[in-house]
Amino acid sequence: MEWETVIGLEIHAQLKTRSKIFSGASTAYGAEPNTQACTVDLGLPGVLPVLNKEVVRMATKFGLAIGAEVARKSVFARKNYFYPDLPKGYQISQFELPVVKAGTLTITLDDGETKVIGVTRAHLEEDAGKSLHEDFHGMTGIDLNRAGTPLLEIVSEPDMRSAREAVAYMRKIHSLVQYLDICDGNMQEGSFRCDANVSVRPKGQEAFGTRTEIKNINSFRFVERAINYEVQRQIDLIEDGGEVVQETRLYDPDRNETRSMRSKEEANDYRYFPDPDLLPLVIEPEFIEQVKKEMPELPDEKKARFESEHGLSSYDANVLIASRATADYFEAVVAELGGEAKLVANWMNGELAARLNRDAIEIEQAPVSADAFAGLLRRIVDNTISGKIAKEVFDAMWNGEGSADEIIDSRGLKQITDSGAIEAIIDNVIANNPSQVEQYRGGQAKLLGYFVGQVMKATQGKANPAQVNQILKQKLDS
């Protein structure tokens, strides 16, 4: 039987506010355990939450970015359950009335096709603390630094039909929240993570199959693998005459498998009810208008502009807008060079991307700044070096050996463009290869490459290739 996969994602984006969603404690990552938890975060008797206004601005930005209605009135609710790293015994979240209502997002797939994915809602909530099971023998340590960190939970419609679509959607949201400057997108630190709801159904069937929820996946690669594993598990189960059980599962990247965490029967009854300590969140239209004015250029708009303004192909533009940092890098280099967008795009999507990928770093961590990169490309444009030499220079720059000009100087890589000097070398090559000259003049035109090679060899690759070609032809053909 042919199966169809149905996927919906719940993405948790940590909002990059300086203080927590309901307290004044810092949200900085990596502090000593429990040093960034104040009386409110600790859930001491008698403390009360006060909403951080900045999270409202951030949620509003997100709502506007996905074309959703920002709710004029939304309500914070308590989600009640016991867990040692949940200090109050409830999480303040939003339930019936979320701050962001339905919107949409267009994703681009590998084949260039686009698909519209529905976003059901996005709501604000506080994060829990962390349980440290490894560090204390026979005991569990509780670190409440993360407790009260603001999260935007973005819930999609079950619109995705493959793990690749799910990853494309997740990447798009990841890019969007960074464009909006509302989340740092750091997946290692858990600032951006997702739960995947996965089910399968026979192709053509309308009713959804029973779904499972894979919790807390924190990389694009793992999302793809976890979903693919889970889909296969469900299909195998059904084809073997079994049934998928509605449950929460955990992905283990080391074994590349998902494991059952708890079944529907074991699931908590969260007893949601409006938090009586917080008034309903009312967002005035004036506030939304003000946020609209602060909206940055969004990825889709930027892509269109890169195509029209810089004449880039849809493919190049799409790669460059994938992250705001990449797009900013591109624009900085082009501005520095005063044009040459195509050259910049080629180098960024080729050489730069390859090195980032090899070193597994983000463009923000690249050892070559946009300015320095422009310095390199400028020397290609003005014929100081050839593209081939430029790659060698780029490697040296990447290793921290200095600017493009310094490296060109110190290594003596400056291209020979003095036509007199090139002519002299060519004359020498012609004089030393009489039989090849005879064959060339006898009609073997492809021997031109041989002469170019000899000239380049004699100049250690520094002769300007265009000039060499031109002068050689001139001399041999005359």
């Binding site: 008797p45 008698g46 009360l48 006060v50 009640n80 016991f82 040692p84 015994g89 007893r271 949601y272």
Partner: protein, 487 residues
């Protein structure tokens, strides 16, 4: 000669200002009384004698520096529901018997700023859940008018301490009547302000949408002085309103000629003790003699108050009390064998029966499949009850009736009958559901036991309520009565 404790709080304030005695003398006098009499009353859980004397010294210094306000050097008893830095804050529960608060409640900060002196922390029903003080882990406080009887609850310790003049004033909190009912049963004046008038920061939550702190003292004038310090906006409490604070003392002397007093027929009906009703009618006659007009009104949804209250309050408490899990503070059981065992035994041992009962009821009311039928329905009823009051206040200025259906009952009399116990708050809970201000004012006695007149006003009308209560107290001396054994 009149002993210091026989003066009202306001009179003591004037005495301090006149230099008739010092704050230290005053604090020592009340500390001595607590030491001498509280064994019989059990009105304090913790007495902070050392801190009190230090604070009194500071108050005297402040006065010497010319920086004293009306409460500077006034000794007060604080309900043990308010967090007090460095002092055990038990909330009447075994759960918090070992909990030393690391911060001060806003109410405590406000009193500190005014220079008031804390004598100690008063007894209360566990987590403010009770109407008799019998649910306290520390044993019940007793009624000074008859120590075989309850002082009411949950602010029973504060009411008993003030009635016996172990403190000239105290704080209480009121979720369903917890200031007004004990004030009535102990023969003192108590005010529950409009919801949002006093910050709830640092006040241990029972039912967040109903809880409100207020003053308890012999007279309305005393309460005016205390409320002046307690009221005001606090950005740490999102439900605290940015509403200007009136001059409560300044408004006391206003006339009440033409005041329209609404008498809900539902409050003068079955279940009301005849003798209690007689005292209330006598007080109303005083008002008539002052030029007020009595108008019979109806609050048609009154009968729904108790059912709605006993869904909303337990629902909120079931969630509010989840933080008492043995993980970070409070009682943790010995040698838990796993996490669930730690939760079950810590909470099982830490909470008393009434608290457990309400957590169970509230958990049930919020459960999937029951939420709409109980919690949501109760919230709708709240709206109806508020509307009743809104309509009533279109016709009358204040509403009056009895605070409680009977005078103080005997210890143990209702301890095993929660429904009967819940009915002792029958007249007060509607006010919390609507978020209105309400007062109880001494209005006579029945067989030597005090009776309270309940006065309810429109939102933010505390100044008017205190004024109306003060007018009665200018004509009567019920608020000046001190039980024989504690004179």
């Amino acid at each position: 000669m009149t002993a210091l404790h026989q003066y009202s709080l306001a009179a003591l304030s004037r005495g301090l200002a006149a230099g008739d005695f010092s704050s230290v003398e005053l604090a020592q006098h009340f500390l001595d009384r607590i030491a001498a009499h509280d064994k019989r009353l059990n009105s304090f859980i913790t007495v902070t004698a050392e801190q009190a004397l230090a604070a009194a010294e500071a108050a005297d210094a402040r006065r010497a520096a010319g920086d004293a306000g009306p409460l500077t050097g006034i000794p007060l008893a604080q309900k043990d529901i308010f967090n007090t830095r460095g002092v055990r804050t038990s909330c009447g529960s075994r759960m918090l018997d070992n909990y030393i608060a690391p911060y001060d409640a806003c109410v405590i900060e406000n009193f500190d700023a005014s220079g008031a002196v804390m004598l100690g922390k008063t007894n209360m029903d566990e987590f403010a859940m009770g109407s008799s003080n019998e649910t306290s882990w520390y044993g019940p406080a007793k009624n000074p008018w008859d120590v075989e009887r309850v002082p009411g609850g949950s602010s029973g310790g504060s009411a008993a301490a003030v009635a016996a003049r172990l403190a000239p004033g105290a704080t209480g909190t009121d979720t369903g009547g917890s200031i007004r009912q004990p004030a009535a049963l102990c023969g003192i004046t108590g005010l529950k302000p409009t919801y949002g008038r006093v910050s709830r920061w640092g006040m241990i939550a029972f039912a967040s949408s109903l809880d409100q702190a207020g003053p308890m003292a012999p007279s309305a004038e005393d309460c005016a002085l205390l409320l002046q310090a307690m009221a005001g906006f606090d950005e740490r409490d999102s439900t605290c309103m940015e509403q200007p604070v009136d001059d409560y003392v300044g408004a006391l002397e206003q006339g009440i000629e033409g005041l329209r007093i609404g008498l809900p027929k539902e409050y003068f009906a079955e279940g009301l003790d005849d003798a209690v009703e007689a005292r209330i009618r006598e007080a109303l006659k005083v008002y008539e003699s002052l030029g007020a007009e009595l108008v019979e009104i109806s609050l048609p949804n009154s009968h729904l108050s108790a059912p709605a209250y006993y869904v909303v309050a337990p629902a909120e408490c079931s969630s509010n009390l989840s933080r008492f899990d043995g993980v970070r503070f409070g009682h943790r059981c010995e040698n838990p064998k796993d996490l669930e065992d730690m939760y079950c035994r810590s909470r099982g041992e830490g909470f008393g029966d009434e608290v457990k009962r309400r957590i169970l009821v509230g958990t049930y009311a919020l459960s999937a499949g029951y939420y709409d039928a109980y919690y949501l329905k109760a919230q709708q009823i709240r709206r109806l009850i508020s509307n009743d009051f809104t309509e009533a206040f279109a016709e009358v200025d204040v509403i009056m009736g009895p605070t409680t259906p009977t005078p103080a009952f005997r210890l143990g009399e209702k301890a095993d009958d929660p429904i009967s116990m819940y009915l002792s708050d029958i007249y007060t809970i509607a006010v919390n559901l609507a978020g209105l201000p309400g007062m109880s004012v001494p209005a006579g006695q029945v067989d030597g036991l005090p009776v309270g007149l309940h006065i309810v006003g429109n939102y933010w009308s505390e100044a008017r309520l205190l004024n109306v209560a003060h007018c009665l107290q200018m004509e009567t001396d019920w608020h000046q009565q001190i039980p024989e054994a504690f004179k």
